[in-house]
């Protein structure tokens, strides 16, 4: 899993993940120092995507643990398959000559591996994506950072299970609550922001085949303007920009106009309040102004 910084940048490009220099450097350091990478940022900036992309780059399995309130060790680490254990006990009652031992019931045959244990026991290093870690309870977070520091877990019936290979760990957080210092201390930190217009144009071109320069630029420009509106309840994510661009390509459009934006608005703005806000505060005329500024400002020329 060894790679160089320039090699990593190249691989990011190959898989179509457009990012800035400092992001690539942070990921490189996390891989090289074998430290978990904690990624924070607004929803839709590409935090989860980073885990998927890393698995693709490193040509390995992605194991995902989705965090939520109430998540505990049994869902994240391991659980005994007690139904199977019960069945075994029941079966043995009918077999007089076969004595069942405790070790038989608490062996790996009856162990249900959950994502953390699966990542630790994998034969080759995997990418472990612990998604939305801020949604789990502080107790689980405390448990988690013990796992992440030693890469081993203790199962009372089996003993300590040490990692066969240290996985690449990516944790994401929407910053809904402050994570504990203990967890942060064990991670390298990366804050992902929405991309600049130029970067988003690159992303659109990489992910939406057949899109023209002009349409890519105008789409990115309008989305960037929408994101600047503080009153929007949910800002458009990169995925939504891509969906929108794909839809525009499917509609055989090669440039935006006010009416088209208003007609396809539900692909970018996903709440009724935001759509109402758009109609009230921006409208097709506002979009025309944004597009006109794009042309007047000469931005369009840079991509042509």
């Amino acid at each position: 899993m060894t790679t160089t910084l320039s090699g990593l940048r190249k691989k990011f490009e190959q898989v179509g993940y457009i990012c800035d220099e400092s992001t690539a450097l942070t990921v490189y350091l996390a891989l090289d120092l074998k430290k978990p990478l904690l990624i924070e940022g607004a929803p839709g900036v590409g935090k989860t995507e980073m885990g998927k992309v890393l698995a693709e780059i490193l040509e390995t399995e992605l194991i995902r643990l989705q965090c939520y309130e109430g998540l505990d060790e049994t869902k994240a680490l391991y659980e005994w398959n007690y139904q199977r254990q019960l069945l075994r006990i029941q079966m043995n009652r009918n077999l007089e000559d076969e004595q069942i031992r405790e070790e038989d019931l608490f062996s790996s045959d009856y162990l249900l591996e959950r994502p953390l244990l699966k990542a630790i026991q994998a034969e080759k290093p995997v990418v472990l994506l612990i998604d939305e870690v801020d949604k789990c309870d502080p107790e689980f977070e405390a448990f988690l950072f013990e796992v992440l520091s030693d890469f081993q877990v203790s199962i009372p019936e089996l003993g300590t299970v040490a990692a066969k290979n240290i996985p690449v760990v990516v944790l994401t957080s929407n910053n809904e609550r402050e994570l504990s210092d203990g967890l942060k201390r064990r991670c390298l930190y990366l804050y992902l922001d929405f991309p600049e217009v130029e970067k988003e144009v690159e992303i659109i071109k990489a992910k939406v085949p057949g899109i023209g320069d002009r349409l890519a630029w105008e789409t990115a420009r309008v989305v960037a303007r929408l994101r600047k509106k503080q009153d929007l309840r949910k800002k458009p994510s990169i995925a939504e920009t891509l969906d929108w661009a794909r839809a525009l390509v499917a509609l055989n459009r090669n440039r935006l106009d006010g009416k088209l934006v208003a007609d396809t608005l539900n692909l970018v703005l996903k709440t009724h309040a935001d759509q109402q806000y758009f109609k009230r505060e921006i409208g097709p005329e506002g979009v025309e102004k944004i597009l006109k500024n794009t042309e007047d400002g000469g931005d369009i020329c840079r991509c042509q």
Binding site: L38, E102, R185, C187, Q230
Partner: protein, 445 residues
């Protein structure tokens, strides 16, 4: 194979880099970043893997290992730019510093030659001589004149020297208290990277009346508020941890746990207690006299948004207005706050608490329930006091608790009928400084 700092730097430069990083980490700690030895070691390891001559790589390596939250990024960037000065700028600063030092030496020598008694220099420290040289020409002339007149007086002997020295020192001490900050910075300029970033000013700001905090101190006050609210956020999070047996019996987990005992329920497992989310309703009086206080409390509570998921902010004066939608996202708090202030129709008007409370109950009935803690920031100066009291009583009955933060000085409370009447209905706390704000909310959230 991992590369260590030792592999890429000669020993002297290596230890210099380590020293610099240690100093830098220490400066960040003083700014409130929770950094331990682990982070410092990580930073050094990361530096071993980047091109040290590339400033952006160098900065990114330090940032990714030393910064652990979005809020700390701004502090880091500011400190980095101040501490790791580019070679040319460092050169320029060093030259300026050397020039200052030379000037200073000349001034000290001149001061020494001017402050003489009977042909001999007075026994003054270098600092006192610097102090003398920073005085205006008129002040210096006056001191020289005093020495000359004393010297030429009748029956003046050499043994008067200590007395004269004491007089001159006292005078310099008096002048020092009046010295401007501009003069201080001139004399202290040494061109080194590390400036004074100690949190000693924090204490002063904490105890200062919020109304008296001027625009120049606002960035520091903002940082202090963020630091304190983060501290409180961590405390709230820790308190929320529940014990293992705090809820009702969990039959499924109990059975599973007791499989090993042959199905005999040997160990009981309990469901974790449902965590009651803090629901906070903040009511900020935004009449002219309350603007600054309300802004500060709002700022402080916004820092708790991460742990208090249901925080709803209202401004009130003559009417009530929901500020919450405009406060979403935390990118640039000051900017958002300014925008809210600009947009709020209530900001800076008169106060009618009774009307505001009844409007709030009418428009937002869902927010007023037994889980809600209401925080009111107001000096109690309202029209229609009787109606206000009635509305407040109604509100108090329907919510978990009402905490009233009053910025009026405590000794003035007895002078106001409204303070007495309201404090009989709800708990009221003095809140004219950042320190008091932190103290009141830490104990009650």
């Amino acid at each position: 194979m991992p590369v260590s700092i030792k592999d890429i730097l000669p020993e002297s430069r290596e230890s210099r880099l380590e020293e610099n990083i240690a100093t830098f980490v220490d400066m960040l700690r003083r700014e409130g970043l929770p950094l331990g030895t682990t982070e410092m070691i990580d930073a050094l390891k990361a530096l071993g893997r980047v091109d040290l001559a590339n400033r952006s790589e160098f900065k990114a390596a330090l940032q990714t290992t030393l910064v652990k939250s979005y809020r700390d990024q701004a502090i880091f960037s500011r400190m980095f730019d101040h501490f790791f000065v580019p070679q040319e700028e460092h050169q320029r600063k060093s030259e300026t510093a050397a020039s200052y030092r030379q000037q200073l030496e000349n001034l000290i020598n001149q001061a020494d030659s001017e402050l003489q008694f009977k042909g001999e220099s007075l026994q003054l420290s270098e600092k006192e001589l610097q102090q003398y040289s920073s005085l205006s020409q008129q002040q210096r002339d006056s001191l020289q004149d005093f020495l000359q007149k004393t010297e030429t007086g009748k029956n003046v002997e050499s043994r008067f020297r200590p007395l004269l020295e004491t007089v001159v020192k006292s005078h310099l001490r008096y002048c020092r208290t009046k010295k401007s900050s501009e003069q201080e910075s001139f004399h202290n300029a040494d061109g080194s990277g590390a400036g004074s970033f100690a949190g000693s000013e924090d204490q002063g700001l904490r105890e200062k009346d919020i109304e008296a905090i001027r625009a120049a101190d606002m960035p520091a006050a903002e940082q202090l508020l963020q630091k304190l609210s983060r501290k409180l956020a961590v405390k709230i999070l820790r308190r929320r941890r529940t014990g293992p047996r705090s809820g009702t019996l969990d039959l499924r987990r109990s059975m599973r746990e007791n499989m090993r005992f042959g199905g005999i329920i040997f160990k009981l497992k309990h469901k974790p207690k449902r965590r009651s989310k803090q629901q906070i309703l903040l009511l900020c009086d935004v009449s002219a006299s309350m603007k600054q206080y309300s802004t500060f409390v709002l700022h402080f509570l916004l820092g708790l948004q991460e742990v208090v998921r249901n925080l709803t902010c209202f401004s009130f004066s003559d009417d009530v207005e929901n500020l919450t939608p405009g406060l979403k996202g935390r990118k640039d708090l000051q900017h958002i706050l300014d925008r809210v202030i600009r947009q709020s129709q209530n900001w800076g008007g008169g106060t009618n608490l009774g009307r505001a409370l009844s409007e709030m109950a009418r428009k937002y009935p869902d927010l007023i329930n037994a889980k809600t803690t209401v925080i009111v920031v107001s000096d109690t100066k309202t029209v229609s006091l009787d109606r206000s009291l009635k509305e407040l009583e109604k509100l108090n009955e329907r919510v978990k608790r009402v905490i009233w933060l009053n910025p009026l000085p405590l000794d003035q409370w007895p002078d106001y009928r409204s303070v007495n009447a309201i404090s009989e209905i709800v708990e009221m706390w003095p809140c004219s400084t950042i320190g008091q704000l932190e103290e009141v909310l830490t104990g009650r959230l």
